[in-house]
């Protein structure tokens, strides 16, 4: 069976990607990054709303999570892009969205909004848990120094909550890069869409999907390295150590080296 694979297609997709493919890769990256950023902002707003003294604000935050965590992402993507038009005959999102300095494909924009809205529901829970994980004494100390709630939140609580938020945030972004493939269904040619189109014209699904799986793996691997660096840096500042870059590399290698010694 394996012999039936046309290896040269796979090779070419991996080692000699054409500019159409690179563009698709770039779309996946920027859609994921922007949607994740939107998700973090919405999650933060949602988390703060959840702590409000005003009941309707808390309910709104709860409803948001209920809806966006409780329905399929692809349905949300369809509703964001087509919903207003089909329900009310409104064109909320034009074919091309103009930001002045640059323009963006309307479908890509809708995809970012939908992915971000969905992500915000999950981020709200992660950020809330992060804030809860900060010792209660910190807020008391900040307040006893005359800091109003918002200032205490911004200067004292959120910086410490970051340490609890970053690891799950990294996992969320990993999922985001893969989930972004769903925007193909509203016509955005990103990484998955590119493979889908190529396969439908060549009838070589295995080759193209293997190649696209490889490229997703590259994206998530690059991200996991970046994430590890961020977490390491946070842990260092928490401990109060000032390690040089050389020491940090050495420390990162220490377990590997120890394992190598043990194996021998």
């Amino acid at each position: 069976m394996l012999a039936a694979l046309e290896w040269h297609i796979l090779w070419q997709r991996i080692f000699h990607p054409d500019h159409v493919f690179v563009l698709a890769l770039w779309r996946t990256v920027y859609i994921s990054v922007l949607a994740q950023l939107l998700g973090v902002v919405l999650g933060l707003i949602g988390a703060i709303m959840r702590m409000s003294h005003f009941l309707p604000v808390r309910l709104l935050s709860g409803l948001y999570v209920l809806v966006f965590r409780g329905t399929p992402l692809i349905v949300q993507i369809f509703f964001v892009y087509f919903g207003a038009n089909l329900l009310f005959g409104l064109t909320l999102i034009p074919r091309t969205v103009n930001f002045g300095a640059f323009t963006m494909d309307g479908a890509a924009f809708a995809g970012i909004v939908a992915l971000g809205l969905n992500e915000g529901a999950y981020m709200r829970e992660i950020i809330r848990a992060g804030i809860d994980a900060v010792d209660k004494g910190q807020l008391e100390a900040a307040r006893s120094l005359g800091m109003p709630y918002r200032l205490a939140m911004r200067r004292i609580i959120l910086p410490q909550a970051t340490r609890f938020i970053i690891p799950p945030l990294g996992n969320e972004f990993n999922s985001m890069m893969k989930n972004s493939s769903l925007v193909f269904f509203i016509g955005v040619t990103e990484l998955f869409g590119d493979a889908e189109i190529r396969y439908s014209t060549t009838f070589k699904p295995v080759e193209y999907f293997l190649a696209v799986a490889f490229w997703y793996l590259v994206l998530t691997t690059v991200w996991s390295v970046i994430q590890a660096q961020i977490e390491r840096k946070l842990a260092v500042s928490e401990r109060g150590d000032e390690l040089s870059f050389r020491e940090r590399v050495f420390e990162a290698w220490a377990p590997v080296a120890a394992w190598g010694r043990g194996a021998r």
Partner: protein, 256 residues
């Protein structure tokens, strides 16, 4: 301000946690430059009372004034209503607090901990705040730890930084909530020395403590609380030689 001006006045303070009444009408006046130690068995309401003074706890009736300002509440049509977040924050600037568990900001160095509130709340220029912060750290004997994070300091050192941090706001009143209870025995002394120095320098202080040695040395007045009431108050001499109240005698015989 006359030397014996009232800094803190509590009148008939009642505090309930659900159905449990933890303060049953506590009244106390503290004058400028005075050091008052509050002692008593655990569960007597000492910590709750001191937390009410800077409104970390709401109160159910009575009133608390610091420097003549109502704390946490304002009068509206003859009734007391809870004040706005912003006003309460302003009132707290006058009141320094030192916690049992230090509560230093772990993501900031010793100096950053000290200058945080003066810069962000009082809008002091950073250079001036750093100068004052360094002087305060020197005062508690930690000038050389200015760039060290709390995680690398001993308990006693952390608590001294916490004292410097509270002093940086130039408060009229300092509250200490069992400042040595979470410390290793060998570091208690250095914190008590810093507090004694502060008391002698004329700071107005209310100290909840189990350190009878400190109460004897540094306090102008000792207040004994039990079951949500102040049951006896007097000079340290009176207290430790001839207390009137039986429960005070019992408590002191157990602890001394």
């Amino acid at each position: 301000m006359t030397p014996d001006a009232t800094i803190m006045r509590a009148e008939d303070v009642v505090k309930r946690f659900g159905r449990l009444e933890v303060l049953k009408g506590v009244s106390l006046e503290v004058h400028s430059g005075e050091t008052v130690c509050i002692i008593g068995p655990s569960g007597s309401g000492k910590t709750t009372f001191i937390r009410c003074i800077n409104h970390l706890e709401t109160i159910d009736s009575g009133l608390i004034e610091v420097n003549g300002h109502l704390i946490g509440y304002r009068k509206q049509n003859g009734e007391l209503v809870e004040d706005s977040e912003k006003n309460i924050a302003k009132q707290r600037c006058e009141i320094g607090m030192v916690f049992q568990r230090f509560n230093l900001f772990p993501h900031k160095t010793a100096l950053e901990n000290v200058i945080e509130a003066p810069v962000c709340v009082r809008n002091l220029p950073k250079r001036q705040a750093i100068q004052e912060g360094e002087a305060l750290l020197a005062r508690v004997g930690l000038a050389d730890k200015r760039d060290v994070y709390p995680g690398k300091l001993s308990g006693g050192q952390q608590q001294r930084v916490a004292i410097a941090r509270a002093l940086a706001m130039k408060p009229a009143l300092m509250l200490f909530d069992e400042p040595t209870s979470a410390l290793d025995p060998e570091t208690i002394g250095e914190v008590l020395v810093a507090m004694e120095e502060l008391a002698h320098a004329g700071m107005t202080m209310i100290v909840v403590t189990h350190e009878m040695g400190f109460a004897r040395e540094a306090a102008d007045r000792v207040v004994m609380m039990d079951e949500g009431c102040i049951i006896e108050e007097g000079t340290p001499e009176h207290f430790f030689t001839s207390p009137d109240n039986d429960r005070t005698k019992q408590f002191l015989s157990k602890i001394l």
